[in-house]
């Protein structure tokens, strides 16, 4: 979509100045804008003076669709939001709708939800690490991460039949119990995964060039992060120990033991460390889920047509990218009256300007990578 | 054989330099001047100054001219292409040039040069041009050499001060 005014605003300013300022269009087809993001950069030499994001290339009106179909029918649409971590979106939607009711979700379903949620976190973080490292020029990490991400997607396939858009959960639990093979393969995966994380870290964590590229770049303080509404690993990287899995527990998280990693300086490197540690913690959580997994049914008794009582709720979960929530207004019919998706990528991307102005072009790429956006959810 | 090469190189130089001063596009002019310098390096080789030829390419073509191109890219030159290119004094310049040319020609015509001497070494052999040049440069011309280095330093500081946007005091 053509953002006419977006371009002209910046270009007009640049012609007023006597000195030549370079306006470059990064995207929407650019290797490191992670999708169809278009960033209009105003450069002075290599320094970024001003920046404007043009988004909406992937706008599909998901909220509007949600207002015209039933609660169950909307689950597959949530897959298409953050398609990197689709089960997380399913989880947010089903837990949000379940908040209207007082159903007893069976514990087995809750544990599987947590487990799959963490697997999707691993999948998402692996894709982030892969592309982030590639943006900074470390191309080997890219393929190593994809090797493990492939294993996670295979797990999804075993459990739900789909790989990317899995449509994993149903209102009231799961559609079917997961096959035993899934549990067995998951155990095999988390047995080898920690050593693979060590491999990534060998290439990056103490690499001098990596440190020079990420340390003290794109710093955001805790106060600024809150002001900008940044959530997820970004705000944790700035030193705020806040994780919705801990603060507002859902699924099986109240019974699971995990550590919320926190950074110190709020630079790219801290965000990197936080996400790497989250990978390890996710592995731990999955291990606990496997050990504590109770038997029994995977779905509770739900009415044939889902008609929540009139009212409005907001429910959010800790998506890999940040706080992912749904605000739902029910008018007592089978379709929601208003569906609002609280998109972490959209709001985190809003902080890009603050992070980038004054930095170099090469840093913009690194910063976009460290924010970890996915445009499907940003544009909805 | 030598003479043919000389004519080739000098013809090339004259053509490219004439093209150079007539181009509207500065980048084209700069690139043509680079070509001129290649021919000049060839002439230096013919004159037995192969070290100088390499210096010509390394410093002039590879250094100074890249600096030119670099600066031209930093400036806004597209505007200048569309503007008037010449001072309105072409006739005066041409007359002056012809007069100067005739004068130089007349002087050269009257001069009888003594017979050429031979180098003490043959072309391309070692030790040769480089050693001889070094020996002269670092003994007889040591003082001018050091002065040149100070000149370079001064020019460097001057260039930085002039081109720097803001100078923190």
């Amino acid at each position: 979509m053509v953002g006419v005014a977006n371009v002209s605003r910046i270009e007009q300013q640049s012609t007023v100045h006597g000195t030549e300022e370079l306006v470059i269009n990064m995207g929407p087809q650019h290797p490191s804008t992670h999708g169809v993001l278009r960033v209009i950069l105003k450069l002075d030499g290599e320094t970024v003076n001003d920046l404007d994001c043009d988004i909406g290339y992937l706008h599909r009106g998901t909220e509007k669709i949600g207002e015209n179909i039933t609660y169950t029918m909307f689950i597959p649409y949530t897959d298409r939001l953050d398609y990197i971590a689709a089960p997380s979106n399913n989880l947010a939607w089903v837990t949000a709708v379940e908040k209207f009711f007082d159903w007893e979700i069976p514990m087995r379903a809750q544990y599987i939800r947590s487990m799959v949620g963490e697997l999707s976190r691993i999948a998402s973080h692996l894709l982030w690490l892969a592309t982030h490292a590639l943006d900074i020029g470390a191309m080997t990490v890219f393929l190593w991460c994809f090797r493990e991400r492939e294993m996670v997607l295979d797990l999804f396939e075993t459990a739900f039949g789909g790989r990317l858009t899995v449509n994993a959960f149903r209102l009231g639990g799961l559609h079917e119990d997961v096959p035993d093979k899934f549990l067995q393969l998951t155990q095999e995966f988390i047995d080898i995964f920690p050593s693979r994380i060590d491999d990534y870290e060998t290439l990056l964590t103490n690499n001098r060039i990596w440190l020079q590229r990420t340390r003290d770049v794109g710093i955001i303080s805790a106060e600024d992060a809150m002001d900008l509404g940044l959530t997820g690993p970004i705000i944790r990287g700035s030193g705020v120990s806040w994780d919705l899995r801990r603060a507002k527990p859902y699924a099986a998280y109240p019974y699971l033991d995990f550590v919320v990693p926190v950074g110190e300086n709020g630079d790219i490197y801290d965000r990197y460390l936080v996400r790497i540690e989250e990978l390890r913690q996710s592995t731990r959580i999955i291990q606990q889920c496997l050990e504590q997994l109770p038997g029994g049914p995977v779905t509770c008794k739900t009415p044939r047509t889902i008609k929540p009582p009139e009212g409005e709720i907001y429910h959010s979960i800790e998506n890999p990218k940040g706080e992912f929530g749904f605000y739902i207004v029910s008018d007592g019919t089978t379709t929601p009256y208003r569906v609002r998706i609280r998109p972490p990528s959209f709001i985190n991307l809003g902080g890009l300007k603050k992070l980038c102005v004054g930095q170099l072009v090469a840093d913009v790429v690194a910063i976009i990578g460290s924010i970890d956006i996915v445009l499907g959810e940003c544009d909805r | 054989m030598e003479l043919y090469f000389f004519y080739m190189f000098s013809g090339g130089m004259i053509i490219t330099s004439l093209l150079m001063i007539t181009r509207a596009n500065v980048i084209h002019a700069a690139l043509l001047l680079v070509l001129t310098f290649f021919f000049l390096a060839g002439i230096f080789v013919l004159a037995g100054a192969e070290f100088l030829a390499a210096v010509q390419i390394l410093l002039y073509a590879g250094g100074i001219m890249v600096l030119y191109l670099f600066s031209i890219m930093l400036m806004n030159v597209e505007v200048a292409v569309r503007m008037r290119q010449w001072h309105r004094q072409g006739v005066v310049v041409f007359v002056a040039a012809v007069l100067l040319g005739l004068e130089i020609w007349a002087v050269l015509k009257g001069v009888e040069f003594p017979a050429a001497k031979q180098w003490e070494w043959s072309l391309g052999a070692t030790p040769g041009n480089v050693e001889a040049l070094g020996a002269v440069l670092y003994t007889k011309f040591l003082f001018p050499f050091e002065v040149a280095s100070i000149l370079l330093l001064a020019a460097m500081i001057g260039a930085i001060v002039l081109a720097k946007r803001t100078i923190e005091r």
């Binding site: 979509m1 006419v4 002209s8 908040k99 699924a251 460390l273 | -």
Partner: protein, 196 residues
Amino acid sequence: MPDEVVENSEETNGAPDSGETAEEVKTPPGEDLKEVVESAFPGAVLEQSAYEDHEDETTFVLGVDSLVAVATHLRDHGDSLFKLLTDLTAAHYPEAENPFEMLYHLYSIEHNRRLRLKVRIKEGQAVPTVSGIWTSADWMEREVYDLFGIEFEDHPDLRRILLPDNWGSHPMRKDYPLEGRGERIYTKPTRKEIGD
């Protein structure tokens, strides 16, 4: 390695999805927050509600005029500290007297609680921007402007964000046609407009 980690706290333990049980039916949750607001701005909270008395669903309905003052107060007051504007959106009720409802979801990391502010406005009525209070509101207000056509006073950069700049209508309104050519009220930009 991150320098600081927080051990698993047992305080927040609670059965998932249980929410608050219907013991305190009489007093809806969020009374303390109401006091925080009322102490500085008496009568600012026009309505108070919460879905099935969920603590997190506390909702205050405010007047348009008091919005910015109350929001600033809620952000800065020690008992509320709503430093995070989680979400900002709107809803359209075409039949109502005030058809548009602005929704502000606030979150306080310090107190781990949520609050929803509501402002009801008429068609064409402008809302004061809260982007001066939470910078994150900048883009979200642009989105509301884009999809609902609600104007924001003093917004630093009120442009469309998701749809093309010359999109003719506001698709999240309930009267937006779901079929037909309605959604193509959109003129192709001329070359001149693009600046080519």
